[in-house]
């Protein structure tokens, strides 16, 4: 990682701060406005589900793979959900090669929780032989270009890949599992999205660009279910929030969540 990449020139920083005072942003957006979104699904034929999401200049790809596995001992009658995100150095000069660090892990776990809390994947329906064989749903997330707000882009890519994934039908013949050619959708029960804010000074901006992230004091992410409830919260970085600011953000987040979801619906036949 070359150090310069992570530092923003003071002039630019001051420009951003001054504009924010006037409710403006570098790229012309309003504070509560998200960037343009493009979603393509079924982009990876070897994956049971896949989606590539462009959120402004941020690009994230997610792939869904299915395996038949033994269930966890403490949930013998549930399928398995595994989320893995990797911030590969291809996507940004600030990402370094090597095994996943705390940022990769946090990203994976926020996506995992948002999905799990609302039971977006109905794991109860992924049992093949109770206590013995269940489907494992792997969601692998790779950032390809990091231009800010990887969390929301990753969430969009994950849910788009899940919504369009196809599972082989199964036939049980004497406890032998036979995969059929016929395919069916995964049991997806909700379309959670996340809405992430950058707090810069005392301002909140939604869907931050990379340069806004460089100067933000704190990050705040809401997971929002289809009916506007909260399915995840995650504050990041070393800044702080008044409770009132969180409640304000929450209201914005619920509106933005609908916009995200409308984008999903505009790209995917659900």
């Amino acid at each position: 990682m070359s150090a310069p990449e992570k530092i923003i020139p003071t002039v630019k920083k001051n420009t951003i701060l001054l504009m924010l005072e006037k409710g403006e942003r570098l790229d012309g957006r309003k504070l509560d406005e998200i960037r343009k979104i493009k979603i393509e699904t079924d982009v990876i034929g070897n994956a049971e589900g896949s989606a590539i999401v462009h959120l402004g200049n941020t690009i994230v790809i997610a792939g869904v793979k299915l395996n038949i596995v033994t269930p966890y001992a403490d949930t013998p009658n549930q399928g398995v959900q595994i989320v893995n995100a990797e911030l590969i150095p291809l996507a940004s000069p600030v990402f370094e090669p090597g095994p996943p660090g705390e940022d990769d892990v946090e990203l994976s776990r926020v996506i995992d929780r948002a999905l799990r809390s609302v039971k977006a994947i109905d794991l109860d329906k992924l049992v093949i032989i109770p206590g013995k064989k269940v489907w494992a749903v792997y969601i692998d997330i790779y950032a390809l270009n990091h231009s800010g707000n990887l969390i929301d882009a990753s969430m969009l890519a994950s849910i788009a890949a899940l919504l369009t994934a196809k599972k082989p039908k199964i036939e049980l013949v004497n406890d032998q599992i036979k995969k059929l050619d016929e395919r069916e959708k995964l049991p997806i029960t909700d379309i959670p999205v996340t809405v992430t804010f950058a707090k810069i000074g005392d301002k909140l901006v939604v869907d931050p660009e990379y340069e806004e992230e460089l100067i933000m004091d704190a990050r705040l992410t809401f997971g929002i279910t289809s009916n506007g409830n909260i399915c995840a919260l995650q504050k990041g970085l070393c800044g702080t929030f008044k409770p009132s600011l969180i409640l304000e953000a929450l209201e914005i987040a619920r509106k933005v969540a609908d916009e995200y979801r409308n984008y999903i619906k505009s790209f995917i036949q659900i």
């Binding site: 995992d112 799990r116 909260i230 800044g239």
Partner: protein
């Protein structure tokens, strides 16, 4: 396993008809809380917290030299934080190697404590926070923050405020304060919150499970109330410097 611990669908009665909880508490009641200060000789600051059956020990070293040196910052101290669960702290033995959960919690705990510290007073140094969960009983991350904040004060590190933390949970569609192991495992939601109580600033906020917007509002209020109580225990502990590591 990646992700949160799985919540079994087992029908456990977490809230009785009279409104009391599985351990007899009222919904907005925190568990017995005890904080001992300065329990470890080697550390520059230390604290031992018992919150319900949680037993967590925290050591703070620093401000001290950073090794390797290239990690040091010219204008302020860095903070390093390691949250770790002893293999015997949970019902099923945990591998001693750090899990993905421990890696994430080390990060959010560090970010919950950092805002309270005058880092710019100690450029080129590190403040190291080591947290060892000896027994886990739900809400370990918030108990760790509460104890770590006291340990930082014990180390004489100048702070804007203490950081006190509590988790709000949800069982049978009702909010509860300071959820325990069972309420975490079988409940409907968990919202850990840390604050600098005097400043009214939130330094940690996470959640899983489902909360309606009005529940979020109520949860923040409930947390604030709990945090006030915890804050008082913290201050009392620092005043008395009760420093025993006796377990009973």
């Amino acid at each position: 396993m990646i992700g949160m611990p799985t919540k079994k669908g087992t029908p456990i009665v977490l809230l009785k008809e009279n409104g009391t909880r599985i351990d007899g508490r009222k919904p907005d009641e925190i568990r017995p809380l005890k904080i001992s200060v300065g329990v470890l000789r080697n550390a520059d600051g230390s604290a031992f917290i018992e919150l319900g059956r949680n037993k967590i020990i925290v050591a703070v070293y620093g401000p001290r030299e950073v090794h390797p040196r290239h990690l040091a910052l010219p204008d302020r101290a860095i903070i390093r934080c390691r949250y770790h669960m002893a293999p015997f702290s949970v019902p099923e033995r945990k591998s001693p190697a750090p899990s993905r959960r421990e890696i994430e919690l080390s990060k959010v705990i560090r970010e919950a404590l950092a805002p309270a510290i005058f880092l710019e007073k100690f450029p080129r140094t590190t403040i190291d926070i080591f947290i060892e969960v000896l027994q886990a009983d739900g809400s370990t991350r918030v108990a760790s923050i509460t104890a770590a904040s006291v340990a930082l004060a014990d180390a004489g590190i100048p702070m804007k405020d203490l950081v006190a933390a509590v988790a709000v949970g949800k069982v049978d569609s009702q909010l509860i304060l300071d959820l325990n192991h069972y309420e975490d495992q079988y409940g409907e939601g968990d919202m850990p919150i840390a604050m600098m109580p005097s400043l009214g600033e939130i330094t940690l906020l996470q959640a899983d499970g489902i909360f309606t917007p009005s529940e979020v509002r109520a949860a923040l209020d409930m947390a604030k109330m709990g945090i006030e109580k915890i804050y008082n225990v913290q201050k009392e502990a620092l005043r008395k410097k009760y420093s025993s590591l006796l377990f009973r």
